[in-house]
Amino acid sequence: MNIEKQSSRMFRGVGIGNGCACGVLRFWESQVIQAPVLPEASRGEDAETLRLQQALRVTGEHLHHLREKTARELGDAEAEIFEIHAMLLEDEDFLDGLAHRLHTGCTAEDAVRQTASTFGETLRGIGDAYLSARAKDIEDIAAQLLHALSEKGTERSESVFDGMPNGTEPYILVARDLTPSQTMGLEREHLLGFVTMEGSSNSHTAILARAMGLPALVGVGDLDAAMQGCEALLDAREGTLTVCPTSAQKHAFCERQGRESELAREHERYLRSLINKPAITCGGHRMLIYANVSGAEEALSAYRNGADGIGLLRSELLYLSSERLPTEEELYQSYRDVVDRMGGKRVVIRTLDVGADKQLSYLALPKEENPALGFRGIRVSLEERAIFKTQLRALLRAGAHGSISIMLPMVIGVSEVQRSRAVLEECKQELLREGIGCDERIELGVMIETPAAAVMSAELAAEVDFFSVGTNDLLQYTLAADRQNPRVAALCEENEEPVLRLIGYAAESIHRHGGWIGICGEMAADLSLTQRFVDMKIDELSVSVPYLLGVREKVTECK
């Protein structure tokens, strides 16, 4: 390796993440798909079909393995790439294309190359960046199939790709482009970061790099392999690669780099280790960390991020997106979907919460001067009895398959709860008579989001199993200030104390009656308030999915 004292050169690309790395460059040539196409004789359609089927099977297994590995090391979202690949491998159009070419006398290799090429072109031809990036997926699969077809590929091996640089010196990998399977196959002990000459921020490489916490640079353009072994500074934040840096450049860089990236990576690893660890404070108070979600997809995401349950399922989605009233069966199915994904953990479902500002096209709620103070929430349900019953029946039925708690929105007093309970009883009796399974002991609770509910919490506590505090609305109603109004929004931020006291009072009330209390508004995710909630012995905090782990961590640090 001849390293002359070359002058410093800088290259620009799209940085992935904000990290940086300082190390030697190691170039990697991917051999498989660029291999020269030697004219090969077909072994006959049957023989080639058998070879291809074997290759498809082996590749499918490998993808499964990669998926498991990625899920374990990085997470389910990142592992999805390989699920997509597996789906593409089974796609009928792809398989038809392969079969057709085999029939016209191609070797298995040519069938793979040609089919992949056609599909890649089709996807690129649409002119959408995302789809063009997916064309690379086809290439990746083709490369794996070709490898499986080659002699090396017929052995079972962990690392499918050869040509990986060896050495114990920390290095920055440079490649023309990296496919997801190559990226996941990288040995990470000495790898500091990577640079690809092609690629976009839309690509898998980018997604995986972010998940791995490794700084990367894509799309830098051609890099001369003669730079192999040169020292380089990779700055993802700036989007630059500085090869053969001057000592001044190095010094400034290393100072910045030192602490930043390692701390960030450690923290990310630590957070992931918290998934499913109970959130118990130093003082021994256990808090349940739930998630606020709108549907089954999010619920699954919540489950995977260690949510102990769902603290708020907004039931409006199905109603709002439909042109007509959802049927009991449709509602039942959608609740089942969420409950099924939560593996028996509690799912708190808020009943229909609509109003003049959150309209259902088919309900035609008249326009109001003051929708926030108007006909909404439980008021609508109690008047639209048929709609309420349909929802309650669906909830009772779905509750038989998991743990559902029903939550009533916008409650201001005991009579609303008593009337609701009467309707619930009626539904229960109907279902029992009809011989349809339902959860007879389903929990019923209310949202504490009006000052009235907070003030009357002692009386309400006698009527319900739980409270959940909707801090967003409670704040607005208590302070008489609209969070969306820029002139007064600051008041909401600076005056939390009245609301905190209301919450404290509500907590005392419900605990005295043996019930539980959770917080599902934005305050739940406010880490500066967590200790206060612990002091009130709040039983549960429900936050949106991205905040789950952070809040869990915070609770474990509280007194």
């Binding site: 699920e83 593409l88 089709t122 996807l123 789809l131 089954a296 199905l318």
Partner: protein, 94 residues
Amino acid sequence: MKEFTYTVKDVNGMHARPAGKLATFAKRFSSEIRVKNGAREADGKRLLSLMALGALHGSVLTFSFVGADEEEACRELERFCIEAWGDGVAVNEY
């Protein structure tokens, strides 16, 4: 024959993940399922075909069903689009 139209709400359009799920879900039904996006048409049960529709945020898709279970398929797939597809999150994901 049954039909419904759906405007793509997902900010990422018809990306691989919803396309994959849609195809997998559509396979449950025996009816023939076709999806149109303007001049392009796809087989609703095939992933690559769906992706090649180039459906973006705001694209209006027409789903058509022909077969013994066309009514159920139409209803269920519409529900699927509304519920399982959603808004998507505007980051690089599937």
